[in-house]
Structures are given as C-alpha cells and as structure tokens.
C-alpha cells in the first residue's frame, strides 16, 4: 500500500483566494510529481521534482508553483485562484523502477 497523502481531498473556494495543496510521502522517494486531471481526459504533468531544492515545470502550463524543501513534502500553491483552475490535482512519487505511487487526489472547485 502506497504511503502518499494529499490534503485537502475536497476544496471549494472563491476567486482570488490563495490555496495550497499539500502532498507528503513516507517512502523516501526522490522523484515527486503533480498531475492535473479533468474528467475524460488524460493526466497532464504540471510540476515535478527530482529531489530537495529541485523543481521543474511539466508539459502543461500551469499558474501554480511548487516547492521541495524536504524530501517527503511537495506542496502546490495557487496565489490567486480562478474558475479555470477547477480540476483534480494528483500528487505522485516514483521509485527507481519508474512506478508511480499516487495520492487520492485533491479536487478543487473555484467559484
């Protein structure tokens, strides 16, 4: 069973608010990822990290930012949320074999 946790699971907020989606893993993985998932669509990589103090933007442009100060923690922040940010955000980490371990997701709704 994967040990990767996301909070909150569900969040409804108003436009212009700042939000942070938390992601933590206890497996000691160096690589961590944030994917954005809309219904019926593929997962899009928006951020990834290969270790502490390493962050890169993914294939899908996103207004969010991430940080990696500790190995186990990879939070995602939106400074000013908009309705276009409404989506599900999935955090994952990977081992040396390339398998991704996913959290249960954070479903964000911006009104």
């Amino acid at each position: 069973e994967a040990d990767i946790y996301q909070t909150p699971r569900y969040l409804v907020i108003g436009t212009g608010k700042k939000i942070t989606l938390e992601c933590s893993q206890t497996m000691g993985h160096d690589k961590m990822y944030w994917y954005q998932q809309d219904p019926g669509m593929e997962l899009h990589l928006i951020h990834y990290s290969y270790g502490v103090n390493s962050t890169e933007k993914g294939d899908l442009s996103s207004e969010s930012t991430v940080s990696r100060i500790r190995t186990e923690h990879f939070p995602l922040t939106l400074e000013s949320a908009r309705p276009s940010h409404t989506s599900q955000y999935l955090c994952a980490s990977s081992d040396s074999g390339g398998e991704l371990f996913f959290g249960e997701g954070s479903r964000l709704t911006v009104l």
Binding site: Y33, M41, E42, L43, Y48, A92, G98, G105
Partner: protein, 113 residues
C-alpha cells in the same frame, strides 16, 4: 513527440466475460509501459509494467498485457471480468532521462451483471 492513445473511451462487458483494452503508443526508443487503474474518488494504482524481456507481463488482480513492438501496442487483458473491475484504466509510457510518464486519456470499464 511521445504520445499514448486509448481508442475506446468506455467499454461495457458482462461479468465473467473476457476483456481487452487497447493501447497504442508513439515513442522513439524502447518504451517503459504501464497500466494503471483508478477507482472512483481514488488515486491511480499500478496494474503492471513492461521494461524489457518477456513481452507478456502479468499483473495484479488477474490482469496481463502484451507488448507488440511491430504494432506499437500494449493491450491489457483479463480472461474473466468481475464486477469490482469497474473503474477507469490508464495506459502510460515512461519517457525521458528523468523518467516522466505520459498518460492516455483512459478507458472507463462498465461491468454488467
């Protein structure tokens, strides 16, 4: 550019019937291939993966997949579907030195009694 195509948006099968979910990929080198399953309200879980060797790989929950290089395919199969298999299934290819993973759009499986 690397890509993954899952031609079927949704499939309905009867419980006990066999299942095949299709996946085609585009990738210049030898791909690392994966199938993940996502139940409603959950994250994704790995079913199986192919890196090299035997082109028929076995996974969890009775699933298997066959890598066919000539067809650029990695189809997922199960001989007898159970109602609990109803979920969304994603094919994915690992790419890049940093091992980024690209996903298909998914196939939703419905199981009827």
């Amino acid at each position: 550019a690397q890509s993954v195509t899952q031609p079927d948006i949704h499939i309905t099968v009867s419980e006990g019937a066999s299942l095949e979910l299709r996946c085609n990929y585009s990738y210049g080198a030898t791909p690392y291939l994966f199938w993940y399953v996502q139940s409603p309200g959950q994250g994704l879980q790995l079913l199986l993966k192919y890196f090299s060797g035997d082109t028929l790989v076995q996974g969890i929950k009775g699933f298997e997949a066959e890598f066919k290089r000539s067809q650029s395919s990695f189809n997922l199969r199960k001989p007898s579907v159970h109602w609990s298999d109803a979920a969304e299934y994603f094919c994915a290819v690992g790419t890049g030195g940093g091992f980024k993973t690209i996903f298909g759009a998914g196939t939703r499986l419905f199981v009827k009694a």
